[in-house]
Subunit: 361 residues, 2 copies
C-alpha cells in the first residue's frame, strides 16, 4: 500500500497531502483507494464503496443522523505555472496554502477525514460521503450514483452538511439555475447585397436591451436573502465577414431563489423574452435553507459562525431533492474556487474542524 | 504534357474542362501550367509567367490597349455531395452546367482563352491576365504580384474588363468595403454573483440597436446607383455558461459607394458607433465606374447589354488604383458564387464570348 494517508496530522497538513494527490474528475481512483484504506481500520465505521465514491457510517443508535459530504475531484490542473504541488507561504492574511484543491474542496474533505478519525463517539450518528465527479456533467456525479444504487445510505439522515467552501460561514440552501438559448433566425446573403437577406444579429438587439434593462429581485426565503440574476453568458452569430448572418444565439443564465420552482423559473424567462424562440437547455431548482428544522438550529447554535444565503448552485439541492435539508459549511473563499491561484488561509482548516467538533462532541 | 487544354472547343465545353481541373486557392499550379502550355504556341501573344499568374499580350500597335482579366482559383470544394466533376443537365432555364467554378469564375476564364485563341487580330491590343489566389487573403493575390513586380504589364492599358460573373450584364465600378470590430469590455465573475462583475454582452445592446435602426443611403455615381449597407456580420462574447462575460465583439461590414473615400468611410463608422471601442481591421475603397471614358463607351455600345452598378467589391478596384478604369462582365449569376450548388446556364458562356467578339473584331 503506497503512501498511506495519515489522519493523525492537523487538518491543514492533511489538506496539503490530499491536494498533492491529484484527482481531476474521472481520475479519482488512487485518492479513493487511499481514503478507503484509511477508513477501513476504524472500528466505529461501516465502509461501503461504489465506484470511486466512499460512504462511511457510524451506527451508535443516536436519535439523529447527519450526512457530512464532500467531493474528492478537482477541476483540471494548470501547467504553466503549475498549481501543484501545494505551496505553504506567508501572506498579508497570515500563512496560506496555495494550489489546486486548497479551496474546492480538499480542505473540506480533510476536515471530514479528521472528524472520522478523531471523533469515534459523536453526539449524532454520522454518514460520511466522499464522492467522485462533482465538477463535471452531472451523469458522473457520485451522489447521483448513490441515489440510483443505494439511496438508503443517505435518505435515513435528518440533515446534511456539505463541506463546500463558504469562507467559514454557514451558507443556507442554494439558488436554482436555468440556462436557455434564445435564437433569432434570418436569411443569409452576400453582405454587399443585404437586401436579399435578413440580418439575424440585428434582430437580437431587443434581447440584449431587455437583459440590460432587467432589474433582478431579491427574495427572502426562511429568513435569508437570495438576490436573483438574469444574464447573457454567451452570444454567437454569423458565419463569415462577407455574409449576412442567418442565425444568432444568446445563451442566458437565470439564477433564481429557492422559493421559485423550476416551472416558475422557466415561465419567467419565457415571459421576459416573449416573442422570441426560446429553448430551455438546463434547469436545476434550488434548495430552501431549511434553517427552521431543529437539526439545523442545533448546528447553527453549536458552530456560532455567521449564517448567509448560498449564491451558487451546489449539491445541497441534490440532498434537498432526496428529502434531506442541507447547508454548506467549509474552509476557503468560494470566489477563489477554480481560479489558477486557488489559495486558503491555513488557519481556516483547523477553525472549520474545531467548529464541527463543537457540534459533534 | 498530360491532358492539354484544347482551345478549339466551344466556351461551355472549355469551362467544364477548366472546372474539372480543381484549382482551389494556392493549388493553381497544374491549371496555370495547362494555360501557359496552351498559350505559348499562339504566335500573336507574348507570354509572361509570375508564380502561377500568366500574362499574355498582343503587340499590334493598336491605338488602344485593354486588359481582360480573370482569376483561376476557386473557393474550396464540397465533399458530400461533391461539387466536382461538373454535371451538364437540363433545367427549367435550359441546359445548365453545375459544379465548383461554373460561376466564379472558370466561365470567364474560358471566354478569355477562347478570345486569345480565336481572335488573333483584335481591334484593340489585348493584355490577358490569368491570375492566382483571388479568393483568399489579398497578400496572395496574383494581381498584387504583378503590381509589385511587373506593373508595366498592366499600367499601359486604357481600360480593363474583369470577367467576374455579372449574369451577362455590364457592372460598373464597385463599392468599397470596410470591416470593423466593436468591442465591449466587462469584468468576469461567477454568474451566481453577477454583482461582482460587469456584463460585456449587455453593454453591446446599443451597438445592435444602432445597427437595427440604421438607414443606409443610396448614392448615385457616374449615373449608376450604389445602395450602401452597414451590417453586423459576426458577434461573439462569453467564455462559459456560468461566467459573466468580460468581452463581446461585434464585427460590422460597411459597403460604401465609390464616391466615398476610405478615410470618409472610416469616419462614418466611427460616428455611428461613437462612444465605443472601434478597431478598423480592413478597408478597401471602391472604384468609380468610369463609364464616361471613351473606351468604356465603346465597350458598352458594342456589347449592347444592360449596364448596372456592381454591388460587391471586386478587383476592378485594384485596376482603378493602378489608374486603369474597369468594369465587370462575365457569365454566371453572382448570387450563386461560392454556393455549394454553383451552376450557370450553358448558353451564357457562348453569349458572353459572342458579345466580346462584337467588340474585338
Amino acid at each position: 500500500m503506497p503512501n498511506p494517508l495519515d489522519l493523525a496530522r492537523d487538518a491543514a497538513t492533511l489538506t496539503a497531502d490530499l491536494c498533492d494527490r491529484p484527482s481531476v474528475s474521472l481520475q479519482e481512483g488512487e485518492l479513493a483507494d487511499a481514503i478507503e484504506d484509511a477508513l477501513r481500520p476504524l472500528a466505529h465505521l461501516d465502509v461501503v464503496r461504489l465506484g470511486n465514491t466512499i460512504v462511511a457510517r457510524t451506527n451508535l443508535d443516536r436519535p439523529e443522523r447527519v450526512v457530512l459530504a464532500g467531493h474528492i475531484d478537482t477541476v483540471p490542473l494548470t501547467v504553466d505555472p503549475p498549481n501543484l504541488p501545494t505551496v505553504r507561504e506567508p501572506s498579508g492574511q497570515g500563512e496560506i496554502l496555495r494550489g489546486r484543491g486548497t479551496v474546492d474542496m480538499k480542505g473540506g474533505v480533510a476536515v471530514m477525514l479528521r472528524l472520522a478519525y478523531a471523533v469515534p463517539a459523536p453526539t449524532r450518528d454520522l454518514t460520511f460521503v466522499f464522492y467522485e465527479a462533482e465538477e463535471i456533467d452531472s451523469i458522473y456525479n457520485g451522489l447521483g450514483l448513490i441515489e440510483r444504487e443505494r439511496p438508503e445510505l443517505i435518505t435515513d439522515a435528518d440533515f446534511a452538511v456539505l463541506l463546500e467552501p463558504t469562507d467559514g460561514a454557514i451558507e443556507g440552501g442554494c439558488k436554482g439555475t436555468l440556462r436557455a438559448e434564445i435564437t433569432t433566425k434570418g436569411i443569409a446573403a452576400h453582405s454587399a447585397r443585404p437586401w436579399k437577406g435578413h440580418n439575424a444579429i440585428h434582430d437580437a438587439a431587443p434581447i440584449l436591451t431587455r437583459l440590460a434593462d432587467y432589474r433582478a429581485e431579491v427574495k427572502e426565503v426562511d429568513g435569508l436573502e437570495y438576490p436573483e440574476a438574469l444574464n447573457a453568458v454567451l452570444i454567437s452569430g454569423g458565419t463569415a465577414t462577407n455574409v449576412i448572418p442567418d442565425r444568432c444565439v444568446v445563451t442566458v443564465n437565470y439564477r433564481y431563489a429557492p422559493s421559485v420552482s423550476e416551472d416558475e423559473a422557466a415561465a419567467h424567462v419565457r415571459s421576459v423574452f416573449d416573442g422570441f424562440e426560446i429553448d430551455i437547455v438546463d434547469n436545476a431548482g434550488g434548495a430552501r435553507p431549511g434553517l427552521n428544522r431543529p437539526a439545523a438550529q442545533a448546528f447553527i447554535a453549536a458552530l456560532g459562525v455567521p449564517v448567509t444565503a448560498k449564491q451558487g448552485w451546489t449539491d445541497v439541492a441534490r440532498f434537498s431533492a432526496m428529502g434531506v435539508p442541507a447547508v454548506n459549511f467549509g474552509p476557503g473563499d468560494p470566489n477563489l474556487a477554480h481560479m489558477d491561484d486557488e489559495r486558503c488561509p491555513v488557519a481556516q482548516y483547523g477553525a472549520c474542524e474545531e467548529a464541527m467538533i463543537r457540534w459533534l462532541r
